[in-house]
Amino acid sequence: MKGSLALCISVCFFCQGLVPLSAQPPAKVDTISASVITADNDRPMISGLTTLDETKIRSGLSALGVSDVLRTLKSLSGVASGMEISSGLYVHGGDGSDNLFLLDGVPLFQVAHLGGMYSSFNTDAIQSLDFYKSGFPPRYGGRLSSVVDFCSKMGDDQSQHGIFSLGLLDGHLAIGGPIIKNKLSYFAGLRRSWADLVTTPYFIINNSRGGKQESWSYHMHDLNLGLTWTPNLNDRFSVRLYQGRDRARYAMSVENKLYGKEVFRVKDSQKLNMAWGNLAVSSEWKHSFSEHAPLQVLIYYSRGSSNLYNGSTEHRIEDNDLVKHSASEQTSGDVALLGASIRQALYLNRHRLGFGADFHNTGYLNPDIRYYANGAGLYAEDKYCLDALQVLFGIRMDAYRYDGGVYFKPQPRAMVSYKVGNRLSLNSSFTHTVQFDHLLCSVFLDLPTNRWAPSSKELPPSEANQIAIGWDYNPSSRLGINGELYYKSMDNLVMYKGESTLFPPSDNGNNDFVCGKGRAYGMDLEGHYRTPRFETSIYYTLSWTERYYPDLYPYWFYDRFDNRHKITIKHNHQINRRVSVNVSWEYHTGNRVTLPEQVVDIDGVGIKFLYSSPYNMKMPDWHCLNLGCQVSRKTKKGHDAFWTFGLYNAYARKNPIMIRLIDSEDKPGEFYLIGYSLPPFIPSVSYTIKF
């Protein structure tokens, strides 16, 4: 079939992802051999909602040459870029640990690989995502700043399909298809880095010379598996598994001769093993009582885990005898979530009702201390449509039982949308959100030593109120401009104030964690111009982000990602049927760092660095140009194949990711700054074949 079939999913907020089965493939489209399905999103109605489909996710920004969905989200307005080496999301003044990542409705805890350099989501396995940054529907709860709701791919129930890609850092393989046509289908996606396949032989060869034996390896993988059974038009059952894992190993051993009362031949050694990741298993049943009453039931288990082992063995001669000294530390921190949710929608004339419940039991499993908490959430919402005016109001009620008591937190949500003619719509939202899990970390990196902990008396739940006013203006079918003004206040934000260590306490009553406040406000703007041949998008953010921690500083201060201006310009151009190019330019005001302003010489001590306030300095503004090109061809067997070339930071801008103060050798006592950045010109290449 030529042309396109538009499946308009614009019935209401809550039915995104809860569409009546009878309105869905496969049964009603089983005669269509090929079709392109496009969907209007709820953009005009919900402020701060962005929906990305598979194409947009694939053509998004990459991290180290690997297409990365969180990198793409970071380029949107309202999201601070964070550190260049990290894929953390900092939405409307958030701190990165306050985003709800849902993979087919299952919350994930570890969403980053390689210390945060790129995300755990395999773009081959993602069908679409909804990203909410201000107007959260009541069905979402548990995090403060954003919701990233991923919908993973299901296997085609008509024919087998697959995609294979090999890049500089990793390889991908995804396949899917019917097991029983129209009834049972599967999907499997695997991504694995292969740096260790290079380093392992290198170290084997290097160690064959004898002497010091050393080896280092790192790999990560993501595995997505799905099985979908559609016994009839009204029922669909799905079972899904996701597993993501990082593993880093270092080992060193050296043989020594020690002379005591005799000559001792000993082997000293050191080992470091780190592993972290996420496992999510879910089972879903979707049922349509009628086209106006879809039901979804989900049971899931999600476990974020991390393990670290560090050990060394050393021999010494003491009093002419050989003494063996061993030191080791093994630490692990898991968070296990067992939950279930049920959602029901009812479409009654002008009303779109939605209600549901979810329950979960969370275990925070640290070697020295374990916590368990039970949570339950109920929500109800009603969307009322009256011509140009649409109103959604609802409430979410969360109950959270921890070892020392119970918290009850009602969270009202309201959204209003009004269409002014055919080209302009105005919208506004108010949301109250609560977060019961706290990420206890002493270093701002996604490390396996970070710990999740439940709320307690000492660390009460974090809460946020956000109000947003937005608009969506489409003067023509090609041009669209939208934006919003927002103000968000946050309370009970947790920060570590203890010693600089990689091992934060896992005790949620620990005095080293303090609570503070935050506020963020600003304006997000987006503009798009689309033609069949090219698309240009501009994202601009004007923002202020502040924090108040009385234990740290007695006044409000600007937060580290208080980037006043942030601009992203993207241009995708289809040169011809075979070649497309994309260009993106990113800019943001420099991140803030804390650097000494003055120095003093103290008798008997030496020099001491002095600071005026936290995050007192702004780093140089950050900007870079990224180029990409995709060349497609047909293989001999008729499959589509692509060569993808990329060049990150094309004009070799030195954007410091960290700054140090260095003593001047020429003028002792004077200091200057030195910045360290990623290597300029990071090229990437990958080959992809679709079958």
């Binding site: 560090n310 050990g311 030191a327 080791s328 530390e329 630490t331 002493s442 270093v443 701002f444 990196l445 920060m495 570590y496 104030k497 600089s500 260590t501 009553g509 620990n510 005095n511 234990d551 580290r560 991140n591 760092v593 804390t594 650097l595 302003e597 003055q598 120095v599 003093v600 010489d601 103290i602 008798d603 008997g604 001590v605 001491k608 660095f609 002095l610 995050y615 780093m619 140089p620 070799a652 030195k654 410091p656 990711i657 960290m658 700054i659 140090r660 103060l661 003028k667 006592g669 004077e670 200091f671 200057y672 700054l673 030195i674 910045g675 360290y676 950045s677 990623l678 290597p679 300029p680």
Partner: protein, 321 residues
């Protein structure tokens, strides 16, 4: 040689990754820096003052003409008794006899600012101790520190062993001459029951500090630590004849010690322990909890401490004929 091309490449990459940003919004004027820790259980308070400078300026001569300090205890002014120039600033001393609950206040006037800060004298710590000679020259003090129950919060302490040499000369005619000279000795401090885990090995509990005429090891105790808390201080002592001013009159030297234990509040502990990691903070990798002190517009710390101490303890082995 085979590694040379790789080394050159890596060096090139590293050099290519470095840049030299300007220091933005740098003040050109240095602020005052002072340290003062009034204590109960002692008869004097020391104030040290220095002049900080912007990090991109080298050290230069400083004038102190425009600086004035006022000390008050419970509203009554206390005069600074002596002032001397040190290599980096000024050092004042005042006679104070403080007890728990006294309000001590300091007002600083300089050409730009008037800064006022107050502090209440906290309770003094309670402890018992025993001591022994472990070797001929080595003394071990075993201290049992009474800690109040940890209700979720950490407690902060300091400990030190002040030392002085007692010189005694006995002449044949019965005359004696005595002299006491304060000395600095090497001290080691450790937990009595030492852990072996990696985190304990990398986390030093005791931090040696020197501030405003005081030296001590500061440490924090949390609810995972035993109560009472036991720790040991090891030091070397001397007991010998050092001189023969008269053929029949030797001068004996014995080292005497005084055990001092402090109770600090968290702010003072944080300031004194100097736990900041400028590299990590500068990289933006850790929260910016920096110990600048407790005074606005100037740097430094004015905070009262609770102090308990023993008398001067005679040497365990007294050298005598």
């Amino acid at each position: 040689m085979r590694a040379l091309p790789i080394s050159v490449l890596l060096l090139g990459l590293v050099i290519g990754c470095e840049s030299y940003p300007n220091y933005p919004n740098m003040s050109t004027k240095g602020k005052l820096y002072l340290e003062c820790f009034p204590c109960s259980g002692t008869d004097s308070t020391i104030l040290t003052v220095s002049r900080a400078r912007p990090v991109n300026q080298s050290k230069r001569e400083t004038s102190w003409d425009d600086v004035l300090f006022e000390l008050n205890v419970n509203g009554s002014p206390i005069n600074w008794e002596s002032c001397k120039n040190t290599s980096n600033g000024l050092r004042y001393s005042a006679s104070t006899d403080l007890t728990r609950g006294d309000i001590v206040a300091l007002t600083v006037h300089d050409s730009d600012n008037i800064v006022h800060v107050e502090s209440s004298v906290p309770e003094s710590p309670a402890f018992t101790y025993s001591r022994e000679m472990t070797q001929e020259w080595l003394e071990r003090y075993h201290i049992i520190l009474e800690t109040t129950p940890f209700a979720g919060g950490a407690q902060f302490y300091g400990a030190f062993l002040e030392a002085r040499n007692h010189y005694l000369t006995k002449y044949p005619d019965g005359r004696t001459e005595e002299e006491y000279i304060p000395i600095s000795v090497e001290i080691e401090i450790s937990e009595t029951a030492k852990g072996t885990s990696f985190s304990e090995l990398v986390e030093e509990r005791f931090h040696r500090i020197s501030a405003a005429g005081k030296e001590m090891f500061v440490f924090s105790l949390g609810k995972d630590d035993p109560s009472p808390y036991e720790f040991d201080i090891m030091t070397a002592s001397t007991h010998e004849i050092v001189e023969w001013p008269h053929p029949d009159a030797p001068t004996y030297r014995n080292t005497q010690f005084r055990l001092v234990v402090y109770k600090l509040n968290q702010r003072a502990y944080r300031f004194l322990s100097d736990l900041d990691n400028p590299v990590m903070i500068g990289a933006g990798l850790v929260p910016p909890f920096v110990a600048n002190g407790n005074m606005k517009d100037i740097y430094g710390m004015f905070e009262s401490l609770g102090q308990s101490s023993t008398e001067w303890l005679p040497a365990l082995i007294v050298y005598k004929e």
